[in-house]
Amino acid sequence: MKTQNQRAWFFVLPVLLLVAFNALIPMMTVVNYSVQETFGDNLFFWEGLRWFQEVLQSERFHNALGRQFFFTFMILIIEIPLGIAIALSMPKKGPWVPVCLVLMALPMLIPWNVVGAMWNIFTLPDIGLLGYFLNHTLGISYDMTQDPVAAWVTIIVMDVWHWTSLVVLLSYAGLVSIPNAYYQAAEIDGASNWAVFRFIQLPKMKTVLTIAILLRFMDSFNIYTEPFVLTGGGPGNSTTLLSIDLVKIALGQFDLGPAAAMSLIYFAITLLTSWLFYTLMTKDDNKA
């Protein structure tokens, strides 16, 4: 049981002030813009909920949101099973395990714009390793800047490259925590590999997998830099994900009202997922 102590607030105060400065003031700005129209010169006119209606009804927003959900769905459906499969085939111990872990974590430590630039260089049709291989060795016509399908495949493969290791690391952490006695018992019972996975490994990985899915959902939903550097949202608008579109509207066209309204809708989704994450995490805390 934790001690009841209201003075603990003093411990939390620095964090509270710092995060409030960064979160609440910008949030107020956004709310302010979302209900007003401006033509510059600091002149603002009350618009009520017009921007929200406009954004929610605009085809552009529907398309960006659709692309965003498609992207998130695709990377989840690839990264989660792939990550689990790789974690399962890793040795439990040995001198190679730390080496594997470090190498696998490496992509996650590369600045996001470098990830985009790296994949750009990697996929250039005539001088990139992958681009050359596909075009000249396999004879598949591949040019990400011309072909929307190629652009989509590339941003999905890039994300798989970038973040599957997160799922691997978390699943692996769950797997090594299973005591050997479980496996011995399974062997005595003559359980198949599938049964061991279904009834021992998967339940033990439940918490870490929940974390992995929610983190990947959130982070892929907020993704901006990597696809922006790689495709710039193109060709056309075909890979303009939600964040890219938002920055285009806010900083490119300076349509502050619609951008702010879009931000708040974005935030509502964030809030919902965070709540889900929090509930699932703390439910587990209480049990332990």
Binding site: N22, S89, P107, M118, W119, I211
Partner: protein, 265 residues
């Protein structure tokens, strides 16, 4: 069994390919890059690296990034320590709501904050300083540090605190000499993750700087867009950004998963 080992090996190979290509490109001359495809650099050259290390715009990009990343790591961990202690040991009015609210900031999309941050930090006169970027990155790094540290602290039995008080330790002395050493791996992991997320983030650091504190990411995008085909230079700059991460990751290799799980594995 042998077949099984093939899976991680193939996966690591897949991870290394684009990195290999980036490094290979960085050792090629511009002529070689433009003249066609070559799997290995035909004539090794260091001119791309020399260009970076002799041009102040380039190497100051790295120095600026390292300054704000370090500043951010120090600020995040030091404010998160007492807060994480409070969350792990005491219950107080609103603790759960506060903990949840912190998490929402970790999950918030940076794109939403770009413009309001620009206005906020311009208004307080911090625009284009290292401190501005360091403080802005606190938005997601402080919540992360609090969550990770809270996870590690909750693993330390409460009896440790109680025994120390019985022995007559004051709180600051207990915290510095007994408690901190007990969770030092947690502090290391929290610092690593703050370092990492501040290092890889680009949208905010680019928005909040112009000249004086311009991060390496911004220098790179300018080269990519203005000079058009300086791929070798771009590749060399990219290669150099991988090094700090590769060094620090070695120290936390056994705790990476715990950090990503925000201290809850």
């Amino acid at each position: 069994m042998r077949m099984r080992n093939l899976v991680p090996i193939l996966y690591i190979l897949f991870l290394m390919l684009p990195i290999y290509w980036l490094v290979a490109m960085s050792f090629k001359t511009t002529n070689e890059i433009l003249s066609g495809f070559s799997l290995f650099p035909q004539t090794w050259t260091f001119e791309n690296y020399i260009a970076i290390f002799t041009d102040p715009t380039w190497y100051w990009g790295y120095i600026n990034s390292i300054i704000y990343v370090t500043l951010n790591t120090v600020i995040s961990v030091s404010v998160a320590l007492p807060a994480a202690y409070a969350f792990s040991r005491y219950s107080f009015v609103g603790d759960k709501h506060l903990f949840f609210w912190l998490l929402t900031n970790r999950m918030a999309p940076a794109a939403v904050f770009a413009l309001p941050f620009f206005q906020l930090y311009s208004a307080v006169g911090l625009f284009d300083t290292h401190l501005a970027v360091a403080l802005a990155h606190c938005l997601f790094n402080v919540p992360l540090a609090v969550w990770i540290l809270e996870g590690f602290m909750s693993g330390v039995p409460k009896e440790l605190d109680e025994t120390a008080y019985v022995d007559g330790y004051s709180f600051p002395r207990f915290f510095m000499t007994i408690f901190l050493p007990a969770i030092k791996s947690g502090v290391g992991v929290a610092a690593f993750f703050c370092f990492m997320f501040s290092w890889v983030e680009m949208l905010l650091s680019k928005t909040l700087t112009a000249v004086e504190a311009k991060p390496i990411a911004a220098v790179m995008t300018r080269t990519a867009s203005s000079a058009g085909y300086e791929l070798g230079l771009l590749a060399a700059a990219g290669t150099l950004t991988i090094i700090p991460g590769a060094i620090v990751i070695y120290f936390v290799r056994n705790y990476i998963a715990k950090g990503f799980a925000l201290g809850r594995v």
